[in-house]
């Protein structure tokens, strides 16, 4: 979807390194969601952010939504091979339709 742009498109990091994935919209986000997908498998919901400036953490993953509610970042601390997969942001941009970001493929080298 071009409504939500993610960067980078792919990322290869050494185990133990920190990394950040960004999700940007040209429109105000009414709710921003982060998902992880293992190759060829289902989507796993990670976090939802709704308020400008909101930040949530779960284990080693932290997601933030900027004050303008147009950009979100997902930060992984001390990456592990289990973090590998495709990370997708998703959002409602108004109305009842839901859009996914362009995806970021993460590879963690042991």
């Amino acid at each position: 979807s071009q409504e939500l742009e993610q960067s980078p498109q792919s990322l290869i990091v050494q185990e133990g390194k920190n990394l950040t994935i960004n999700c940007t919209s040209s429109k105000t986000l009414y709710g921003l969601y982060w998902y992880k997908q293992k190759y060829g498998e289902g989507l796993i919901f990670l976090m939802m952010l709704q308020k400008g400036g909101e930040e949530k953490s779960h284990e080693k993953i932290t997601a933030k939504l900027d004050e303008k509610k147009q950009q979100s970042s997902l930060h992984i601390t001390a990456s592990q091979p289990s973090h590998a997969g495709i990370y997708l942001c998703g959002a409602s941009l108004g109305g009842n339709q839901f859009y996914f970001g362009t995806g970021t493929s993460l590879t963690v080298i042991p």
């Binding site: 969601y33 060829g40 498998e41 289902g42 989507l43 939802m48 998703g90 409602s92 339709q97 839901f98």
Partner: protein, 114 residues
């Protein structure tokens, strides 16, 4: 905790055949969404239902139809299957709140059209 259930998990059909995919939302979730994810592509929104009524429609082909039943489960019916329909079909459910709520995804049904 109960999750979204999709059946079947895998389906193989031939061209021009029909297929029915089923989705059982999390209990007390009244909204169901269907998505299609082709090989190497992002998920695409197909259609959604709230309280058994279609609430929004995305890029769903005319050959496809869907409905939500009184027990809130949903079925995606696909007719005249084409090779390009081979994809992973996700169903998600959410409780209706003031806005678009948190979506919980099922494991997906992998459809292969030969």
């Amino acid at each position: 905790a109960a999750g979204v259930i999709q059946s079947p998990r895998h389906l193989i059909k031939e061209k021009r055949e029909t297929a029915t995919l089923k989705c059982y939302p999390i209990p007390r979730h009244d909204t169901v969404y269907w998505y299609q994810q082709g090989p190497g592509q992002d998920p695409q929104f197909l259609i959604s239902f709230y309280e058994k009524m279609q609430s929004d429609k995305g890029s769903i082909p005319d050959r496809f139809s869907a409905q939500q039943f009184s027990d809130y489960h949903s079925e995606l019916n696909m007719s005249s299957l084409e090779l390009g329909d081979s994809a992973l079909y996700f169903c998600a459910s959410s409780p209706r709140t003031s806005g678009l709520g948190e979506q919980f995804f099922g494991p997906g049904t992998r459809l292969t059209v030969l």
